[in-house]
Subunit: 140 residues, 3 copies
Amino acid sequence: MMWFQKEIDLKPRARGFHLVTDEIMSNFPELKNIKIGIINLLIKHTSASLTLNENADPTVRQDFENYFNRAVPENEPYYKHLDEGSDDLPAHLKASILGNSLNIPVSNGKPNLGIWQGMYLCEHRNHGGSRRIVVTIHGE
Amino acid sequence: MMWFQKEIDLKPRARGFHLVTDEIMSNFPELKNIKIGIINLLIKHTSASLTLNENADPTVRQDFENYFNRAVPENEPYYKHLDEGSDDLPAHLKASILGNSLNIPVSNGKPNLGIWQGMYLCEHRNHGGSRRIVVTIHGE
Amino acid sequence: MMWFQKEIDLKPRARGFHLVTDEIMSNFPELKNIKIGIINLLIKHTSASLTLNENADPTVRQDFENYFNRAVPENEPYYKHLDEGSDDLPAHLKASILGNSLNIPVSNGKPNLGIWQGMYLCEHRNHGGSRRIVVTIHGE
């Protein structure tokens, strides 16, 4: 049984959806020693999120940004939490809709994802800066 | 400490929400040996998803299909990812809103769910075919 | 390697979003013995949910309630699952959008959350009563 855990800082990105599988997983050469296990990733922020989705066509990620901007609009007259700018409360809402963690199986030293699945950093702020992720891996 | 992992292929289903608790869990007789543990289920696709919800009244699942078709409409003029049909990009969006994995506690050899909770396969494509799930169980 | 698991009943709350980090975590003094681990929380209900979000300004939680009531309206003419009141089917939908579980890393005896992150109980029913959560912690 092995456990390892590391905090990593993703490079700052523009508002939108970004494929970050390689940027995250390149930090974990130890993974190759795990035959069966689980990778937990938690983003330590309330205005950015993590999800798995299509890893090939960049227009999927553009459509995601455009969809979520319509589904969770800025400047709704009933919003009360306004101090940090019009992108802030919608960012909190998107973060809870999309989720703050991923839990991915490990098989034979690799994340066992579908061939079309990649990890997305969902940056919901205009100027979110670097985002910190805790990665916890355990298995045997 | 025990780990086991299996990939299972769910039978193809029509677009909509389907109760699959028994179809999934019948593959895991080993579960009865685990007193405390966790079951991780990951769907290896980007246009179908997994969730827990009400396991009794089938109209809940029909209402889910009708709600999500309105909340994530097809044929929006701003969608760019169109090559695979009008149901494709909405399917990706629904998959990220509902989520790709479940993480369920095990207590005394059984999934510890609420009495009204069941596992849903959420099939977002018109012709999604069979869906593959990786099931990873560990505990003691 | 340690495993422990407990079911806890949260006190009944009004419909809305509630910060419950302390109410939950005060039940787990054992956590201080875990250097690296994972906390899994599952809510055993289909009309309430769990999420992580901003733990400081209460207007965030009021905005969440107001947003989700608009995004998932009551009394839509196409809803079929009506027997338990107009808040029931929307509660099921919100539960699946927000999610039924949290999976949080443990580092040096504490949940490793961001400084602004707290655990929300999302109560989607008008009179939901006490809600039961299974908490499963494992680590080394």
